[in-house]
Subunit: 608 residues, 2 copies
């Protein structure tokens, strides 16, 4: 099975993370969740219904009956998705050593064999022999086992045989559980020349593929990073939980390439927040703790300084886009569930209507990815050069070319053969062997062509495979929790009055422009103001002139518009408008130029 | 075959557009192209090589041998793609009545049956019987026919049989040409419960699916529009021409919904540019003309006022992102090649190393899309309400329910049946018939349950299917031409000196920061300045301190960075830097705060 480190967001253990209520360390969190749910079990339903009605998140292809696990971001939601994405890009790229790349979502099979996805990215499924319905096997036995998705096929078959009935037809006859690969398969090209390919299960591979280009771009100096945002795909057998488990999702990954002997140490001294951590349950710090990021690194709970830096930066991002800091925690993977090469893996979990949900994974993937691709593709160029502070004397084994044989044998290619011999980093155990030339061809080197020599030389540096620290974000899950945390139900004059307390810059539009009355010149002035604001790149205003002013405020509050500008009689005289703040409904008067400047600088609060 | 209107960018006629040198109106353009090519036939090769070397555009999956038709945007190119995309979004959304949506790329079959893609989105292909190589049939006979891709299978078979040899094995034995659907096929879900789906061939369907949500968002008032950007897919048989013909591409479409009886008329009076137009060759204005957009509309060459407005706005966008205005032309589709419902279709073509290439399509798609989806999905909600200025007396035919029968027959559902009868917009030709209820169920209405009546009533308005004007943009093709037009080859001190004259805001980064020497405090100050600029959202700076200052200027010029800030001895004293302008290499001195403010406002030119 692919390690959790590798599929932090959409991995086969995702559901387990949500259902770990039996673990000691999690009980408190769950008690909160349960009591919230008991208190208002239909809040989820009302929120979902509002999201649909207001064009934020909707089931996709609904006029054709919909497809579970596929959603649309509507006229309000898509703008939020773009703003969260841009915010995320700015957050990382402001660091100066991180660039964006964009690679195809269609991925040839060879890449995903190397990454392990073709062989191991699967869930166990079973089919009802009576009605042919197909289910994810661990879902059927969730009530029988606390960690159903950690079980093997045999254990699952055993539990299924104990009388589990089919949710569709109530019979109890199951085929043996078998793994189903979770990638969407397709074929590139026509007929016999078609090549198997898959829709990417993650964006990370695009960055690994481009390592040679990135290394050149950064002029051969580590550390550096690349980000990619976009769609990822996972052919879920039976998706549930709304936006939490999708078949096509919006993700964003950062691959940060470092020299493991010189790991970058970010300054986390200013991060004084006290964070909830759930360290490795099999390690010396098991149980929930609360401390700063710095203290966690110092105590050895966070095992890698660059990982600590990314945990803190992830926190900054999440709180910045509107996640409630009290509902974030970091859960470290158990040593036993991590792959051998993964030195430190953390999930950032956010609490909401679906309990604690993994929304970000931060993993030290070591040299695993680049090494695997080097092995499978035979590519050079997936390494970095480490310059020694002072040259070192080293005994070097090399194959010295015997010109008298190589020359006549390879003729015009002789120079290329000699160059390839000199470039060998690992010598073959025995001769003859196949030597790859720079241009991709291969030649056979016989024992008479070379002499194995040991030489002492001054070596100025060495090639090594960089390590990778990867923060991977699931935007749909994060946006879900932004909405969940922002959704505030209340009452006003005997009627339901709900609003979204979204952060400015995350709300789909920056302000609504409302003519107090739909006559007397007010609509014209409002139209003009609306156009002026919309003419500023990336500022968005919306004109709303239908129905009462109170109704229009409510409409804007419901989708989280932070500011409402009202054009009234005074506006017609002096050009000023009233500025209403969503969160406390306080109003002040200001001139349009002033408002515009504050909107650009996100400083309208200073007027109050 | 799907009309050109429907697949403006990636349609089956795309290649024809590029090879139409035989048409009278195009000769001039082609002479230009040919003479350019003759003058410097290796420019394309050098440009492509630079794009790869500098991390702008690269073949995707290259370490695994690559896949033709798939490209990567590298560390420099992806930033350009994002900026062009944002520029495009700002361009349209500043209009105030256009919103963004984001829908899945995986699309269930039913949607694409309705859109016509399942049946008709195909190219003819043939296989060599000797070596099994597969080819797009029209490509093989390009030298035999001026419009090979307009031929049917029989004509193609005839030409193939005239001795065309296989490019791979030189034999001449072909299977009969047969259509190959150009969509990437996949399956949603597992095994027997799997549903056929395709990767979307265009983003437009997402907007049509969301029409009910858009209509609600805009409070039932036309006109309004929705945009979507993202990946589109087309399983080319044998992709060629670099970025022009991709299997996965970046596209952006705007669907603008209007009332055909009240089409929006944009103000194009300020558009005085003289544009090259190639009107419908079968119409009264055939032949190339040059005139303003306004004149073209007045002369009836552009047939629809909203289309004229979008032609002009498309021009603004293209010139704004750096397309050479002298290398843009608008080509109207022939009446004979347009589908019956398509009233006016234009391609915006851009000239570059590949000749004239269709980069934008602007089509009046009338009510075709929404009507088709209504027919196939049986959905209500794909119509808009048109309020009459004054109520009209109309004779209305209705089926008046006979309560005495309907009540006892349908019991609890009787009210729903009556409501559905009242809501019928078209009466059945005969009885009995199946009536769909609001909740999706269906009941049979017998003759004794209703009475057919004619009534005169005051009608306040009517439901109709909105028309759609669609500008569809191919970003890869546009970015290719931005690069092509910006790429300037020259010499400096006896060495090649090339630069990209990209528009500010389109270049991947806004400025480089260069310490004159890598010592004496300059690197530290440069690092600080670099960080200050990068901390501003969406501004991007890059530090470069390796090798001579001249070499670093050249490096920045080559990828089109408009500004270079150099930190020198004076900087250490007073904090000022030199600001170098890429295009004329003139330098001025300025303080960092000042530079930052100008960078934010894109006004650095004012210092010169």
């Amino acid at each position: 099975m692919i390690s959790n480190c590798f599929e932090p967001l959409y991995g086969t253990r995702g559901t387990a993370l949500i259902s770990q209520s039996s673990e000691d360390g999690l009980k408190d969190g769950w008690r909160v969740a349960s009591s919230l749910k008991m208190a208002d079990e239909r809040r989820l339903e009302r929120l979902t219904s509002m999201l649909k009605r207001r064009g934020i998140i909707l089931p996709a292809f609904e006029i054709y009956g919909g497809v579970s696990g596929l959603i649309d971001y509507g006229p309000v939601g898509a703008a939020m998705l773009r703003r969260v994405t841009q915010n995320w890009l700015d957050h990382w790229m402001s660091q100066g050593d991180i660039v964006e790349i964009d690679s195809p979502t269609i991925t040839p099979e060879a890449v995903l064999i190397a990454s392990g996805h073709v062989g191991e990215f699967s869930d166990l499924m079973t089919e009802c022999k009576a009605c042919s319905s197909v289910f994810r096997a661990d879902h059927l036995i969730e009530d029988e086992h606390p960690n159903a998705d950690s079980l093997g096929a045999q254990e699952i078959d055993g539990l299924l045989g104990s009388g589990i009935t089919c949710p569709s037809c109530q019979e109890s006859a199951w085929t043996a559980a078998q793994p189903m690969n979770l990638m969407f398969q397709t074929s590139i090209g026509a007929m016999s020349s078609g090549r198997t390919a898959y829709m990417r299960p993650e964006t990370a591979q695009g960055m690994f593929m481009l390592f040679p280009s990135l290394y050149r771009h950064f002029r051969q100096r580590l550390p550096f990073g690349a980000v990619q945002t976009g769609h990822g795909y996972r052919n879920e057998i039976s998706p549930r939980q709304g936006m939490i488990r999708l078949r096509e999702f919006n993700m964003a990954e950062l691959e940060y390439f470092i020299d493991p002997q010189d790991p970058p140490v970010g300054d986390i001294s200013k991060h004084n927040e006290i964070i909830t951590l759930i360290p490795d349950p099999d390690g010396p710090h098991s149980g929930e703790s609360r401390m700063s990021f710095g203290a966690a690194l110092e105590a050895g709970i966070v095992r890698h300084p660059t990982v600590a830096w990314f945990l803190a930066r992830t926190w900054d991002f999440l709180v910045g886009v509107g996640i409630d800091p009290a509902r974030i925690r970091f859960r470290q993977h158990a040593s036993t569930e991590m792959a051998h090469y993964a030195a430190d893996c953390w999930d950032c979990e956010i609490h909401g209507e679906h309990g604690w949900v993994e929304c970000v994974g931060i993993a030290n993937r070591t040299c695993h990815d680049l090494e695997n691709h080097e092995t499978h593709s035979k590519a050079r160029g997936l390494r970095a050069w480490r310059q020694f502070a002072t040259p070192r004397k080293q005994v070097i084994e090399r194959l010295a070319p015997n010109g008298a044989v190589i020359g006549p044998t390879f003729r015009n290619d002789a120079a290329a053969v000699v160059a390839a011999l000199e470039a060998l980093t690992e010598l073959p155990d025995s001769l003859p062997f196949d030597l790859s030339l720079e241009d991709g061809r291969s030649v056979t080197i016989n024992p008479d062509m070379v002499e194995r020599r040991e030489e002492t030389a001054n070596v100025s540096g060495e090639w090594f495979t960089p390590h990778v620290i990867e923060p991977a974000f699931g935007f749909d899950r994060i946006i879900w929790h932004i909405l969940d945390h922002a959704y505030t139900e209340g009452e006003k004059e005997g009627e339901d009055y709900n609003h979204l307390s979204l952060a400015a810059g995350i709300s789909s539009i920056d302000c609504v422009v409302l003519p107090l009355f739909d006559k007397g010149g007010m609509p014209e002035l409002a139209t003009e103001i609306n156009a002026t604001i919309n003419a500023v790149p990336r500022l968005r205003a919306q004109l709303d002139s239908s129905r009462s002013i109170g109704r229009r405020y409510a409409r804007a509050d419901e989708i989280g518009v932070p500011w409402a500008l009202t054009v009234d009689h005074t506006s017609l005289e002096d050009g000023s408008v009233t500025v209403r703040r969503r969160d406390d409904q306080v109003q002040v008067r200001a001139f349009v130029d002033e408002v515009l400047e504050h909107l650009r600088n996100n400083s309208l609060d200073s007027l109050f």
